[in-house]
Amino acid sequence: MSTPQPPQAPPAWPATPDSRTPGYTSPIPVVRTHLGHAIASEWTKIRSVRSTMWTLGVFVLLVIGIGLGTGALVASSSSDLGGESPLALGFFGLLLGSMCVITLGVLTTASEYGTGMIRTTMTACPSRGRVLAAKAIVFFLVAFVVTLVAASVVALAQASMLENHGARVPTGSEWFKGTVGVSLFIALLGLLSLVIGSIVRHSAGAITIMIGLLLAPLVIALFMFAESLSKVRTGLLEYSIPNQLSVFYSNSLTSSGPTGWDPLWIALGVTAVAFAGAFVLLEKRDV
């Protein structure tokens, strides 16, 4: 019975063709790949799975359905808006709908880990950062465009519905904030979810984290009765995502806290930091 060969250096081969001379050359021309290729690939990916259609479909239904519903409700009641901007009524639909965007954002990255597709992707594109960047760009644009369309439809409908119910005519900057502003904010929220999905690499875990981030500050603040905690409580309320979203409609729950475009800068900062972290982890970790 022979013993196993001990580990050894590669044996000296008999005379063979040099390793540097490739034995086979493909007739298909080899191109230099860049971010554009990765973006095209990610666009194919995002449009070829049903979860995209489902989450965005539900999102549009929620935003437009709730928006038109509240508009119709206020319009049919005898209540007077008392000079409020009619755009504010779009808030409820977007708040609920943001959960769909969060889900899609997480799924864009985490589902690749769940299915094992990530190994195929990273083999096909060893520049991992490029893949993450392409995902972020494609998802952000999709989320932004869909939100913008839905929010604009709702804003226009509500403005025309409530014209005769004491609502004032919104200014140009209010229009801008109530459509483009909220769309950027929602898309950034989705992008943060995408990044968290890339860090956590688990769909359910990442969605839970993001829903928690969305709701927990408000819920926690509700239970902070103690006087000594009032500062924390106000902070939690002011910087909770629902309140930041309402800032775009100038109907914040509190008088202090973020105003104007602040929520967008906050979201941008948080997302940028998370993105950098995800980028470093992606380059360092084993797939």
Binding site: P22, S48, V49, R119, C125
Partner: protein, 414 residues
């Protein structure tokens, strides 16, 4: 050309791959063998830059994978047929990979035709069978028309036609001058496909040689010698005579002797000279499978044990005999079981006295057969070639050799 130098990978305190150095050359199919958990897939992942080696490096054509310009055009890989998003149609899956490396979309339809999936191209891969999944994975590997190809267990789940197709595909890819690196645990498949073997066990290199060298280096061909059971002293006599003559004698469970180091005529001469009668003198040659088992037996991580079912069994009915263990369950050294002896001790079902089951448990071939010490079939008059052995055994021997025994039986030349 794939070249690994001192490749080591640790996960926490577990070393998956240790100091692995090898070369995979173009123009041949190189088989990558090793027991489960021996580090094959980890090595594949390190070659593809998915896992970073703890130390050492692996290069393809002189570059680490992640430094290759347009890597998928130079290296194609089937790592895991399940590594797809099941909700995406086969064609879209390949299309997104093609776009990632700037491959024209018509190449997608080409490879779909190559693997025979053109009819299900628009179906979601969730509904694919294991074999269809493998074909999709192979299509992804071929997409870039690369000069280096890695396949991890490519024939898993394929039907015989598919296995033949993969075998010919590997060979034709290698014949075109490409480097083909295939991991598998199907020895018979490797014997037919690969020209060169790299064998690892517990993450370390065990062998790096051609298939033919591997078999001859790791399988000791042997002769089986059987003396009359009725005269044990003859066996002792022959055993010492053979040892004296320079042979290596190993007794087998059923009383036969396994002799290595002596040619058959010499054994016969020695037996004649020491006045010992022989009932059997047969040459045996080991298969690739046996050679592989022999080499890796010390490096197997997951070894099965006999299912004891302790405390779970009903009281045995009277006359019940414990079942014969199936070869390969928790028995060290099962890699080279003696070939089935005709007769032996057939297993008798408790409820049906006198009836031999047709199932695999009817195998009389277990190496540790409890009947080893009992009457030997050869003790019967030689008129019948399969004589009943056990007292409870019926007159009729099993009609066909049991499949369970054949799976692990070495390829005997007799």
């Amino acid at each position: 050309m794939i070249e690994a130098v001192g490749l080591t990978k640790r996960y926490g305190d577990k070393t998956a791959v240790y100091n692995l150095s090898f070369q995979v050359r173009p123009g041949t199919v190189t088989g990558f063998l090793g027991p489960n958990g021996s580090g094959k897939s980890t090595t594949m992942r390190m070659i593809l830059g998915l896992d970073n080696p703890t130390s050492g490096q692996v290069t393809i054509g002189g570059f680490p994978y992640r430094k290759l310009p347009n890597a998928p055009r130079q290296v194609g890989a089937l790592l895991d047929a399940k590594a797809v998003h099941g909700g995406r149609a086969a064609r879209n899956h390949l299309l997104c990979l093609a776009q990632l490396s700037g491959i024209p979309a018509r190449r997608v339809d080409e490879v779909l035709g190559v693997v025979g999936l053109q009819d299900v191209a628009r179906r979601r891969s969730k509904g694919f069978s294991l074999g269809m999944g493998q074909r999709l994975g192979i299509a992804a590997a071929l997409l870039g028309d690369p000069q280096v190809l890695l396949f991890d267990e490519p024939v898993n789940g394929l039907d015989p036609e598919g296995i033949l197709w993969v075998r010919n595909l590997m060979k034709s890819l290698a014949a075109e001058g490409r480097t083909v690196f295939v991991s598998s645990h199907l020895m018979s498949e490797m014997a037919l496909t690969a020209d060169h073997l790299i064998v690892i066990g517990r993450g370390q290199l065990l062998a790096d040689m051609s298939v033919r060298d591997f078999i001859s280096a790791n399988s000791a061909d042997f002769a089986r010698v059987r003396t009359p059971d009725t005269e044990p002293q003859q066996r002792e006599k022959l055993s010492s005579a053979l040892t004296e003559a320079g042979g290596h004698v190993l007794p087998e469970q059923d009383g036969a002797l396994r002799v290595t180091g002596l040619p058959l005529p010499r054994i016969s001469d020695i037996a004649h000279a020491s006045d010992v009668r022989l009932w059997e003198l047969s040459p045996h040659q080991a298969s690739l499978e046996e050679a592989y088992m022999r080499m890796t037996q010390g490096a197997v991580d997951y070894r099965s044990t006999i299912d004891q079912r302790a405390g779970l069994m009903q009281p045995l009915p009277p006359g019940y005999q414990p079942p014969i263990p199936v070869p390969g369950q928790g028995q060290p050294g099962w890699y080279a079981p003696p070939p089935p002896q005709p007769g032996g001790q057939p297993f008798v079902m408790p409820g049906q006295p006198g009836q031999v089951p047709a199932g695999p448990y009817g195998a009389p071939a277990a190496p540790a057969a409890p009947g080893a010490g009992g009457p030997n079939p050869y003790a019967q008059p030689a008129s019948e070639d399969r004589a009943p052995a056990g007292p409870a055994a019926p007159a009729q021997p099993p009609a066909s050799p049991a499949p369970a025994a054949d799976l692990t039986k070495p390829e005997d030349a007799r």
